[in-house]
Structures are given as C-alpha cells and as structure tokens.
Symmetry: C2
Subunit: 320 residues, 2 copies
C-alpha cells in the first residue's frame, strides 16, 4: 500500500511513527512543510523536515519533540557572546551540523529535495521524505505593530517561537507559495498513492501551507483515492501548540468539525475526531465527510498506531 | 610608540603577548596573514587571524597554541556522521561560532577587515588587528602527485595539517596575491609606524605572504623606520612547525642567517638570532643587516617579553 502523508513538525512526525507501526509494509511518502524554514546565522534551517527526519531516524529529543537528543548549546552560547542572535531559537550543536551540511549543499547548487535525500541517507527514516517544494516559501504572520497603529508581518518562527503566539494573528501568508512548484516526486507520489493522510498537524501553517503550493491540492483531489485526516483539535482546543491562534486568522473556529469543513468535502473524504468530540460527527458527515470518533491523543506509540490504523480503516470504508 | 607587526599564527601571537608585556603603552597594529584562510563546510575560516585574536583575547588553547580553550567537537562529530569532512581539520564547537559569524557578515557584504573588527569587539585583543587584505589570497603548495608523474597544487592547510609537510614542497604560491589590495588601514599603519617588527613567524607562508600583497613591501621600505625581525630558525631547525619544508621550496636554507638574507637588507635593518646561532651574526652583518644573538625560545611570557624588548632595543640602535 502506498501512503502519502502531508506532515508538519511534531504532530506529523509522531503520527508517522504510529503509522509505520500500524502499517509496517506500507510504502510511505511524506510531503513535508517548508513554510516555516528560516535562515538563522546564515544557515538554512528546516524545522519540520528535520523533526520528521530526527523522529523517524531515532535522533529526536523525545520529551521536547523537536531538536536532537543529548543536545548541547556551545555554538549558540558563543554566538551570543559575539552579540549575534536570535537567542529565542534553540539551535543545538548537533542540530547545527545538519544546517551546516544543508547550507553547504544548497550553496553548491543542490535543490532542497536532493539535500533532504542526502541527510536522510544518514538517518534512514524508513519513509521517503520530500520537501513540498524546492522553491522558497516563507510563512509570514500579520500582527499588530507594538510601536504603532499599523500592522507588520513577522516570520512564522518569530510569531510561534519568540512571541509564542501571544498576540492576535490577523493573517497567515505563505509568501512565495503562489510561485512555487512542487518538489520533484511530490505530484507523482500523490498520483500513485492508494491513500492520502493528513495527520493531526496544524491545518493552517503545516498542512495548509503544503496545500498552498500550486498543483498539490489539485493532485490530491484528482488522485481518486481516499483522503483521510485526523483532527488536531480535541475538545475545542489544540492538542498541542497554538493552532487556535492561526485558525482564528483564517476565520476558522477551533473545533474538530470546523477544521474538517475548512479542508472541505472536495478534498477530504474521511475525518477522525476524538471521542470527546463525538457530538461533531453528525455535523462533519452533514458536510459530506465520513467521520468517526476515536481516542486521538498520541500518548504513546500504541495509541498513535491505533489512530493510524483507524485512519486506514476509514480510508477503506470511504473507498467503498 | 607605534609598532606594526606582521604576524602569522602561533609564533606571531605568542610574540605579540611578549611585546605587549614589554611595551605596555605602545600602540600596536598587527597585519595578519590571510593566505592560509580556507573555506570549510561552507564557512570562512581564518586560522592566523583567529590565533592572534584568541591568544591576545584570552580564549586560546594554551598548550595547543591554536583553537579555543575548553573546546568540544560535537559539530565536527555530527558532520562526520553525515560523511562530511575534512576530518583532518580540527574545528571545535566554540571555534565554529566564530566562523559562522564571520561567514554571515561576509555574506551580508562586509569586508574581512570589518568582520575582524567586529569579532575583536568581543575579544578585545589590545592591538589593532588588520587582515593583510580583504581580497581572496590562498596559499597553495606544489607537491608530487602520488597518483602520477605530474605535480599538483594543494591548499596550504592540506599540506600543513593533513600531510604535516611530510612530502617535498616544490613551490609555494600565494594565489591571488598579485591582484590583492592591502586592507584599509594597512598602508597607513605602516606609514605612521615608529618600528616594524617581523616576529618569529614563518618567513615564507606567513610574513612572506603578507609581503606578497602589492604595496606592503614597498610601504615598509619607504617608511624610513627601523625594521627588525626575529629568527624563526634556531640551531638550523624551525623553533616550531615545519618552516624548513617551505623554505626549501623557495630555495632558502634553514639557517638564521639565510632567512635574514632572504628578507634582505633592502627590507630588514636588524635581525635577532638565538645565542646558539651567535656564529651567524657576522654573516648577517656582512649582508648589511645589524644582528644580535639573544635567547629566542618563547618558553614563557617573561622570556618572550625579553625577546620583544631586545627587538625594540635593536630598532633604536639601527635608528642611530
């Protein structure tokens, strides 16, 4: 079975671990979000791709969910001693090496997809990891300018990590997405897929950004295979992160049903909500999306594998 | 008193520490060799400038003479795990931060001289540290190609660090030097100097490379002030390093007298040799260079300060 997964960072990566456990023989292609990529210290940092790579490759800091296990921060401390920041972004020494290799390869002319493949040659994540695009897409968030009456756009990482989504987001703009082309292999993987899954990743800044790359949404709709998602909202609140802040920016309520309807029945065939949101099943189904309520907390690998298995069962159900 | 010092790496840096102790009120400008600069992992590394900066700024690994104290090598180990080398060049985590800052500033358009000033704002070396040029100069060494009958050029660092000067050097070429311009402040510092000193740095790949930048040699000759050097050769052998290998490449014997004559009386007014080389004094003086024999081993700060003091005394003697 060929499965395509559109993944953000922590939530996507953890779901993938469950999926690989539930479907060990599946051929999985992950299309990773690159809209939260950022240049720091002259280096290209791809937080979501790396979170997937480290998680599936056994290098992740388990409790934290991002970054490397057994990490040290000598380089960052030295950069701070030079007065060079930002200090709010936690790049560790092990992690730095990944960004140094990536930046060097990109400087030598390799596209991000080739770089990602080279990095994965070390990590052996067990999936094929593709960036959504080799082109530059940068998610910006429009916030109130604290120094004035106007608004200003900040990089998603600045909104998410530095400001911790503590101020209202008026808009989320994947800058460059309209000009981006899907990376080599992305459209082919979707066309060849038996199932497409949306993990409980952020529907705006993770899955939404991938869908904003021209051709991706259309390829999924045209693939003619079940498309099943898992709600990142449980009990009207994001399972983790601050998804409600960016949902508000695009005018979507933070409910499991509203997110399903935001994707829409033109894209989504099936939707899993948590058992606490069982009351939303009818509303989602009324919107033309098959819906089931199951426990959606990725507390451990077993629970996560059960979620992935349920998504695959729902896929077969909608395939009919 | 305004003193200009043409410095390489370890020998130059240690001499400078002695000079600052011997002449605490002097205004010292260091013109640093950049011919052994190298791009590693996409980062610009300036070994000689950094050795001077770390040594005078209190950050040097004292026993080793280069690199940072309390250094760790996490980034390098991770790069090796990606299969990315070279492994023969010992870049530590603390050191990496310097190269990241430098590379980022150069990428932003700042010349190396401005970058060096910015880095020194942290280290406060107590001297004005200028790169010899902001242009790219790269010292290459011509060696026998082990794979064939022909010869090949390797970067100086590859010859020095990887090969440890274990094969004959047929030529030393400061590639780009003929097109290089002295960095801002270099010619002005020389013109304003009261004394110019050549520390016991390598006469070919350190001091020689600085002198290869068009205008530097002429400025020193034209300054009309005493130019005094200290022999890096003691008892017919280099005090440290493998200076004899690159001296052979330029057809100069590894003796204290031969190095003085290599600089020549057109450039050099005074020359200090070690007491074991006292027999060379007459030969040097016969070449028109005032010469004295004193202990030249930089065993500690006191001994090094005595060497620097002797150089200043000899400078006043030749000033007449």
């Amino acid at each position: 079975m060929r499965i395509v997964v559109l993944a953000g960072g922590i939530g996507g990566a953890r779901f993938l671990r469950g999926l690989m456990s539930a479907a060990p023989d599946a051929d999985i292609t992950v299309i990773g979000n690159t809209g939260d990529d950022i240049h720091l210290f002259g280096l290209k940092v791809c937080p979501d791709l790396d979170t997937v790579m480290y998680t599936l490759g056994g290098g992740i800091h388990e409790e934290q969910g991002w970054g490397r296990a057994d990490e040290t921060f000598t380089v960052k401390e030295e950069l701070a001693a030079y007065g060079v920041g930002p200090e709010w972004f936690g790049l560790g020494d092990r992690d730095f090496a990944t960004h140094i290799v990536r930046t060097q390869m990109i400087g030598a002319g390799y596209p991000l997809s080739a770089v990602t493949e080279a990095l994965c040659a070390r990590w052996q994540p067990g999936v094929r990891l593709l960036p959504m695009t080799d082109d530059r897409v940068e998610t910006h968030v429009l916030i109130d300018d604290p120094d004035g009456e106007s608004r200003k756009a900040v990089h998603f990482q600045e909104y998410w990590v530095r400001l911790r989504a503590s101020v209202p987001a008026h808009a989320v703009v994947p800058v460059g997405a309209d000009q981006a082309k899907p990376a080599p292999g992305v459209l082919e993987a979707i066309a060849d897929a038996d199932v497409v899954l949306f993990p409980p990743s952020n529907p705006v800044v993770s899955v939404g950004t991938i869908l904003a790359v021209p051709g991706v949404r259309e390829a999924i709709a045209d693939a003619g295979v079940p498309v099943v998602g898992l709600s990142p909202i449980v009990g009207d609140a994001p399972v983790r992160g601050m998804a409600d802040k960016v949902l508000a920016a695009v005018g979507v309520e933070s409910t499991a049903a509203a997110v399903a309807k935001h994707y829409g029945s033109g894209l989504l065939d099936g939707w899993l909500v948590d058992t606490v949101d069982a009351g939303a099943v009818d509303e989602v189904e009324a919107a033309g999306i098959r819906c089931r309520a199951i426990p959606l907390m990725m507390t451990d690998l077993e629970a996560t594998a059960a979620m992935a298995a349920a998504a695959l069962v729902l896929a077969e159900e909608v395939r009919g």
